[in-house]
Each structure stands twice: as structure tokens, then as C-alpha cells.
Symmetry: C2
Subunit: 217 residues, 2 copies
Amino acid sequence: MKPGERIRADIEGRIRSGEWKPGDRIPFEHELVRSYGCSRATVSKALEMLARAGLIERRRKAGSFVAHPRVHSAVLEVPDLAKVVAERGLAYRWQRLKREVQDGNVVVTGLHHAGDEPYCIEQREISLAAVPEAEAETFADEAPGTWLLKRVPWSEARHRISAVMPTAAEARLLGIPRTACLRIERWTWRGGDPVTSVSQLFPGDRHDLVADFAPGA
Amino acid sequence: MKPGERIRADIEGRIRSGEWKPGDRIPFEHELVRSYGCSRATVSKALEMLARAGLIERRRKAGSFVAHPRVHSAVLEVPDLAKVVAERGLAYRWQRLKREVQDGNVVVTGLHHAGDEPYCIEQREISLAAVPEAEAETFADEAPGTWLLKRVPWSEARHRISAVMPTAAEARLLGIPRTACLRIERWTWRGGDPVTSVSQLFPGDRHDLVADFAPGA
DNA sequence: CAGTGGTCTAGACCACGCA
DNA sequence: GCGTGGTCTAGACCACTGG
């Protein structure tokens, strides 16, 4: 095992095992340099990785300390619907219901189907200022999310997840009684300018979100 | 500005602006060493930070490339309920409803209140194998989540978020009609051994989850 | 098999923050 | 002040992998 990796694994193990508890100071860099017989850059890099992973906090003059666990944070994956449906072994289909232009946005409404059943109602706005090519696009055959993925580079996003009752019209579209639905809203910007926003509505019994959290992994 | 930071900001800017698109190769390390007039370690560290942030991918022999954006991932914060309630300017209160021991687990059911209204039903199991001190704890005055935070070191967790209809009994406890609720379930392990699991049920109109995503931030 | 990134050494100066 | 981590230089060897 490489020296840096060994140092990192050693310390991480002592933290995860509980041998070193939140708040404890871990050895100074120069002490680790001596005990592991390697250069300071190597030790420093190992500690930096642990700090990035959130396992330790580093303070000048004071040293490095085992961090107190964050209350709870997790990486939430909001995957491509076509992929989710395919992984369940069902046929995926996009059905556009409406497309119009309003206030400089293309507004598209449609249904994602899994097998023969409706799976999600999507309402999306795309800013023509940010994505002028959207003007010429019908979104009849391809969901706007999939289309956008190919064109839009890196961006920032905010998600909001809530539980709502569907309106009568929404329940009819989804082919379900008026029962709890999961709503995922997402707003996307690039450089502060809005790119797109989307609201997706899922029958509560057919969709959920899973988020894993393994610090340092 | 420090050299490493400048290199990083430069490249990040070109990616975020769209000047360098997903799939584009960025200059080799040795080219950046020449053009910025600094050491390879500095360049390497800057690129490594960008790689960790997910903005670039590095491949031996081939070079470093602007990454294709992940479909959607976001950091979901699942904060302490007492804190959430306090931030809304409401009084927080925990009310234990039941505590029993079953199959080596302490099972606690209770209500989180915001102001004078019920805010969340919590059902929790705590493994006595992982947390033996829980045996002596009544959880009458302190919610088990808060209590655990102080005692349990680093752990892994999985979250599941779904929309459900409350049972009649749940609706009565929450003081709401039978309308959509958000359910958050969380399973926690340490070193592969289960520590605790919890199911929280919120009235859909009183709680939602927000997750931000700014790659590299 | 040549060139890339991955990792390492052995030094150095600096900025911060506690005393 | 002074010791800590933060950052940097100028080298070096190695492992992987694409051409």
C-alpha cells in the first residue's frame, strides 16, 4: 500500500472505529512525518483528503481534530427518468401534451410513461435567452430534459421535494385516484441566469428517492 | 491571488462559461506548468481539486477532460428538527408516546411539535448491541435523534424519501385530515452493523426538502 | 512503448491565531 | 512571538494506458 493511502486508511479507521472520538486532536503533521517516516507533503495530502471528506477539521496553530458528525447530509441522485424506467425492465416513452412560448420561455408539458402506465407529469420551462435552440424544437419525440442534457454545459441547480395531493386533472392524467404524490421541482441556472425549471409529479406509490451517505467514500 | 487558486479559477471559469465544453481536453499538466510558470505539484493539485469537484476527468496518457455533467445530484441536508422549528421562530417540543424493547432494539414513538401543533411523527429503533446506553434511557424529555447525536460517532446512512397517505391514526396524531404526507426513512450503520433506523412523517403542506447543487462549490 | 497523470521527497516561505 | 497548517518549488520514480 502506498504511504499516503496507508496514513489515510489508518486515521480513518481509528475515527470510524470510535477509537478517536469527535473533538479529539489527531497527531500533528510533524509527528506523523516522524512516525510514518515520510515527507510532510504526503502527510498533508492524506490529512487534506480526510478534511475534504468531512472526517477531520484542521485549525492552524491548534492542530487537526476529529470532526463532529454533520446532522445529516446525503448525496441525492435525481436520475434520468428514461434510465430509471429502463432499469425496472419497463419500456420508456415520452408523450408531449403541450408546447407554447410564454414570456421568452418555451413551456412544455408532457407525460413520462413506464410500460403502458403514466409515471410522471412534467411541466418545464426553458429560457430562450439561455438556450435559443429550444425555439426550433418541438419536443414531440424527445423529453426536454434529455434534450437539454446534450446541449447545456455545467450549471447550478436547486431542488425542492414535497408531498402533495394531485389536482383532479393531474390524477386523471396519471390514471390514479387522488392519493399522495411526490413532487420534485428543480431550478437550474448558469452563471446566475436561469436556464430551465421543471416540476415533476409522481404517484407516491410508484416512486421514491434514495440518498446514500458514507462520509469519506 | 495564489498561483494554484488562480489556475483553478481560470479553468473553472472557462468550463462554467461554456468556453470549454464537456468532452474537451484541457491543457496537459506540463503545458500549464509552462504557461503559468509554476511547479507541476501546484498544477496537479489545482487539477485534482477540479476533478474532485467533478468538473474534469483525468485519464493517464490521454490527459484531462471537461466532464459531462452528472444527470442530477444534489447535497440533501436533513437537519435536526429542533433547529428547523427554532429557525421558523416556533417553540419546539418533543413528546414521547411509547417506549419499549423488542428483539434487542429500543423502539420509541413520539411527536415533534412546532409551536402548539404536531409537526412530525417519529418512530425509531435503536440497536442495543450498538448503543447499550439506550437501555437506561427513557427518551421522555429528549428526542432519541438528539440524544444519539451526542453519543454515536461517525456512521453511514441511507435515506428514502416518499409521499404517502397517513393512516387514520397518523392523521389524528398530526391533527390533519387525510392528506399527502412526506415520509423520510433513514437507516444508519457503523462498520456494517445497524445502529438506528427512523421513520418520520410530515404533513405535506408543512414540510419540504431543499437541496442545492453547485458543482465545485 | 512513450507520455500521461499519480505519487513521492526534501526542502522553503508564509499566514494565521493562540499565548 | 511562535508553532501550526497552507502553499509552493524542483526535482524524481512509477503505473497505467492509449496509440
